[in-house]
Symmetry: C2
Subunit: 457 residues, 2 copies
């Protein structure tokens, strides 16, 4: 039993859709962030579920690791093949299979990216709302339980996947959930596979909830003197039931980055970036009510606009925040943190983090999805500078501890991968052992993305 025997068998099945070319291996071993490149031994490009099942069966027989690959936008080393094995690249399984407009759902293959999906859906009047910023694949987003700027209104991938087709670790193909909007028929396997990071099986098809494109969209930006004022604005807005579509926080360092990278003209103080979806009447009423809260909290410069170009500019700037922050330090790489706390503890969490970074030797703008209590510090380090990487890891370590101390979680949306493994015991206690029990029962050979989410010998 060996990886090489698996590869030999796989090449009979896949022909030139199994690649061992070095550039391909390198590409599939790379990370968007600070993890070192750990290439797989081969990359498979299946075209349908049956092929995925065959790949897994062959790998299972040879004890060969199997690692799923969507668009490579993971920030936590999810796709690193540190034990080698076969990377299953879903780029050829990227079709929209069925749009059910009356039911407001769509069936897709995992390799489609969220931007391609929404382009495809444009004529239907529907859209898929989850938006992690990066143009990630839908399969990858489900595997990591991704979310992003719109989760405050539409939820995360947990809330937006209705059903899955999954290839299990022994090659069996199962379907979880259905197109019904709810069910009480047994264990919620859909929710188990969403967020399992490819460690329990490979997602080969997804049924997603869709939303109607809003009749009106209004967006706005406003400035605050203090982080706490911005956060209190968010808390009050949510308590008043104003249905924000997006409510994003950026700190003063991020505002600086926007000014430099995107030619923005923002005062270098904390800001909220917001969006309202609704009818003409409701979107303006929401914007008006939000404006009153901003005034009460001492916010400044609040103006809202329903112009598409204003909105696009605003969210393009937000979506490029990662690159804007990277550009603050020429040639830098980043360690991106991702904690999420109860919103009542958010101001405290951000302020402590801000102070900790300011006292360190490296820059680290902070921004986040404050409607969810989720924020990121983008810790900028010189590539190869191990001392700086240690500083970044220490800051990240203290953020994780802070999240747990404040009743939150070590990762709001990026997942565990390899990067957050060391905090799983602290967050879950014996619950982590339960995850291990589930993993062992569904993947007894530990071939599915080994070493991620869990530490099994």
């Amino acid at each position: 039993m060996s990886i090489q025997s698996a590869i030999a068998e796989l090449s009979l099945v896949l022909g030139d859709r199994l690649s061992s070319a070095k550039p391909d291996l390198e590409l599939h071993g790379q990370s968007e962030t600070h993890f070192t490149t750990m290439p797989p031994d081969a990359v498979a490009y299946p075209e349908n579920t049956d092929e995925v099942s065959k790949i897994v069966r062959i790998c299972a027989a040879q004890d060969c690791p199997v690692i799923g690959w969507g668009a490579g936008t993971s920030l936590e080393g999810h796709t690193s093949a540190f034990r080698g094995g076969v990377c299953v690249d879903f780029s050829r399984m990227n079709k929209v299979l069925v749009v059910n407009a009356e039911d407001m759902d769509v069936v897709v293959q995992p390799g489609i990216t969220r931007e391609d999906l929404n382009t495809d859906l444009r004529a239907t009047g529907l859209f898929f709302p989850v938006d992690p910023g990066a143009n990630a694949s839908i399969g990858g987003m489900a595997a990591t339980r991704a979310s992003g700027t719109t989760a405050v209104r539409y939820g995360t991938m947990r809330d937006n996947v209705r059903a899955l087709e999954v290839v299990l670790a022994d090659g069996r193909i199962i379907r979880t959930g259905s197109r019904a909007r709810k069910s009480s028929a047994g264990y919620d396997l859909t929710s188990l596979f969403v967020g399992s990071e490819g460690t329990l099986g490979l997602i080969t098809e997804l049924t997603l909830k869709l939303q109607g494109q809003p009749e009106a969209v209004a967006s706005a930006i406003c400035a605050f003197d203090a982080i706490e004022d911005a956060v209190n604005t968010v808390i009050t807005t949510i308590q008043m039931g104003i249905p924000m579509a997006r409510i994003e926080f950026v700190d003063s360092a991020t505002a600086t980055a926007f000014n430099i990278y995107a030619g923005a003209n923002m005062p270098e103080v904390p800001h909220l970036l917001v969006e309202f979806h609704g009818s003409d009447t409701s979107a303006s009423e929401d914007a008006r009510r939000f404006g009153e809260i901003v005034d009460d909290m001492g916010g400044k410069g609040f103006e809202w606009s329903t112009k598409a170009e204003d909105r696009r500019a605003l969210w393009a700037m937000r979506h490029n925040a990662y690159y804007a922050c990277l550009a603050l330090r020429r040639g830098a790489t980043a360690l991106v943190t991702d904690i999420c706390v109860p919103i009542s503890r958010l101001a405290e969490a951000i302020e402590e983090t801000r102070a900790d970074i300011t006292n360190s030797s490296i820059p680290g703008p902070i921004l986040g999805h404050v409607g969810d209590g989720n924020f990121h510090a983008i810790l900028l380090v010189e590539p190869g500078n191990t001392k700086e990487l240690e500083v970044a890891k220490d800051l990240s370590h203290r953020m994780a501890e802070r999240a747990l101390r404040l009743g939150g979680t070590i990762t709001g949306e990026h997942g565990v991968g390899m990067g957050k493994l060391d905090y799983m015991q602290a967050e879950h206690g014996d619950g982590w052992a339960v995850m291990g029990d589930i993993k062992r029962s569904l993947d007894p050979k530990n071939i599915m993305n080994p070493g991620k989410v869990l530490k099994l010998n």
Copy 2:
């Protein structure tokens, strides 16, 4: 190892909070519906999580079944002790532990009922929205993934439980989730335990999402000539993004039942009962837009009201629908069905079911949560009349098959219990085997509510 040894040990721990009195056993072996009484051997009344843990440890050592009990409102025989064992009655664990108003969450013990919880919350301006009609316990609602009239707006228990404390089958106590609004930290154990019907562990604490009490509530009722017109009204309403808080269907037979039982004065045709939550402006705009759709679809008698007394009367009538339907036939007992289909197939599903019941020898009003595609037939049978029970089971069987044929699920909200076991293989295929693997890994002795959800050996 025996149940009797477990009971002897438990009585040392619990004293008079362990009951073997016959009326107590009978009460805890009864079902709201057609299942025969199957009493446990003893009923335990723990007062805290540590006691629950001790109970489970003792039972585990003696291979004694452990069955959770909330308010006894299950419709699928969830609490039947058909192998005997110990019923864990959570009525003494019924406290609100913490209200976090800023985070809009609440921590409760499982035995509190939803009505008591909302009474407790009244002064906070917040409420817990999930409303299955019956005054069920929150723990039981989570265990069966309950939903009800408000799921169309606020989701089911799946969507409204943030975190759990669970006693596992070996007595270990774990916490799943956190008070953060989202997380990507590993497998979603919260979703795994929600809907697991006490077969994987006992829920001893829940953190629930709350909603702000709406500023304005408008309710309405309207009549339709045909089921299809009512369903098309629902589909259009959802597609237009009108955020219905409730949208309920009743058929002509249910209207008759309301007229008799509640003194309503409804034309005996299909109806929709609806509710809108929002600001004064948005609730009236929603009601106005909905009224336009009703007109387009040929609906009649649409009038909306923001008066609390009108609303209370409407929903009291809806909540008592089960008893109103039972009263259609003096002394009857009911087999209550519960299928859920994609909403595009709903009219077809209801019409086929209506025709099938009409052609049978027993009455069966139909009503349901049409915004979710979920409906029930309340099949009325004479107690002890095995021939009629067979007719009802046949109708129910065909409903389950219909649900699966139309891409839906055999249970939208009542759960599997014993009543839906025979359809699990058809709905889930190998997915049911995966549920079995999970069950075996977390409860290898099969002591937690054995015989529900799964058929093991």
